[in-house]
C-alpha cells in the first residue's frame, strides 16, 4: 500500500511539474513571431475622446521596420539600434533604443495590442491621445 502511494505521489509530481515560466514563454513566442521579418505600416489610427482618424497606406510607399534575430533593428527612416520585448504592468511592449543617421539617440516604447505571424497592432497613448499602428508583413 505504501509503495502504491509512493508511486502515485511521484507520478502526480511528475505530471504536474512540467510547467515552465509562462511569462518567459510569452516573450519567447513574441520574439519568434516578430523577428526576422519586415513589418510594413498598413494603417494608422489617431483616437481621441471625440473622434478617430484613420490613414490607409496599403499599396503605397510606407514606413517599415525590420526586427532581426540578433535583437537589432533598422527602419525606413534610417534609425538603427536594438530592440527588446518586455512585459510591464501586464502589457507586452517593444522597447527600441536607436540612433539616427546624425547619431542622435532615440528611445521609444510601443505597447502590443495584438501580435501574429503576419499582423501586428501597436499603440501608444500620450496626453489622452492614442495612436494605433497596424503592421503586416505582406505589403
Amino acid at each position: 500500500m505504501k509503495n502504491k502511494l509512493t508511486i502515485f505521489f511521484f507520478s502526480s509530481l511528475f505530471l504536474l511539474s512540467c510547467k515552465k515560466d509562462a511569462g518567459k514563454n510569452e516573450l519567447n513566442l513574441a520574439y519568434q513571431m516578430i523577428s526576422e521579418k519586415i513589418w510594413y505600416l498598413s494603417y494608422s489610427q489617431t483616437i481621441t475622446s471625440t473622434k478617430t482618424t484613420e490613414k490607409n497606406y496599403v499599396g503605397q510607399s510606407t514606413y517599415f521596420i525590420k526586427f532581426l534575430k540578433d535583437y537589432t533593428t533598422v527602419d525606413s527612416d534610417g534609425l538603427k539600434g536594438v530592440y527588446n520585448l518586455e512585459k510591464t504592468n501586464d502589457i507586452l511592449q517593444i522597447h527600441v533604443n536607436a540612433k539616427t543617421q546624425g547619431q542622435n539617440t532615440i528611445e521609444y516604447i510601443y505597447n502590443v495590442e495584438s501580435l501574429g505571424a503576419s499582423n501586428m497592432i501597436l499603440y501608444s497613448t500620450v496626453a489622452g491621445v492614442t495612436n494605433k499602428f497596424y503592421y503586416d508583413t505582406n505589403h
Binding site: N3, F14, N28, A30, S114, L115
Partner: protein
Amino acid sequence: MNIFKRSFVTLFFISICVGGLSQKPLSFIFKKAKKPDTLVQDTNRVTKVSIAEKFTSVKNNLNNYLKKSFVNFKDNNLYLYAGMGLSKQTIQTGDYISNFNYDLSNYNKSTYKPGYFVGARVDGIYNQKHPYTFGAGLQKITSGTQYKDPVSLAPFLGDFSKFKADDQFFTLNVFAHYRKLISLKNNSNRKFYLIAGPNIDTRLSSQSIDNQVNYNYRRFLLRADIGVEYDNSGYYTVFVHYKQAISSFTKAPIRTNLNSIEIGMQIKASDIF
C-alpha cells in the same frame, strides 16, 4: 528528445499499472534494508534467480490477485488491437484574452485528420450475463481544427483567433466498455456487438509554444465511446468506434470538443505469442 520523453512516460505508466494490479511484483525494487549477515546470503540467492523465474513469479502473483479480486469477471481473454483514428476539434474561444492573433485562413480546417493507436484490452463476461471490455493503449491524435467564433482585427481583412489549437497529441488511452451482443440469424460464429463506455485520454505530449503562454490544454480528456464490433469466428475482431468529447480538452473560457472516429482490428494475444 520528445520520443525519449514519451517512451519514459509510457514505461512509467506501465509500471504504475503493473504495480497497481499486483501486490508484490515490484517488491524486489522496494526491499527494506536487511541486516548485514543476511545480506550476503540474499545477494547470492538473487543472482541465482533467473529473469524468467522472476517473470513467472510476477505472472503468478498477478493471476492470484486477479482471481481473488475479480471473482465475477469470467472468460477473460487478452487481445491486442491497432488501427487508425480520424479526429476533429471544434473550438469556441469565448472571451479568452491573449496578446497574440492567428490568421484563421491558415488554421481553420473543418476536416478529420488521421492518427493511429495501439493497445491491449481484456474482453470478458461479468456475472455470466454482461460482456465487458477493459483496455489501455497509446494514441497519436492528429486533428482538424474548426473555430466557431472567429474575431475581426479590422481594418485588417479576414478572420482571426486569439487562441491557436494544438492539432497533434500523444495520449495514453484507458477505457471500459459494456458490450451488447446483437442477435442475428446464423450468428453462431460471427458475432456483432454494440459497445458503449467511458474513455479517458491522458495527454503525454507537451503543449505547443503558443499554448505554453497560458497552458491552455488540460492533462485529461473524458470522452464517451460508442461503436460496433464484428467478431469473425474468434479469428479476429474489427471495430468502428465514435468518441464524443464530454469534457473540454482546454481550460475555461476556451472550449474544445475533440471527437474521433476509430477503425481498428484486434487479435487474441495467445494467437500471436
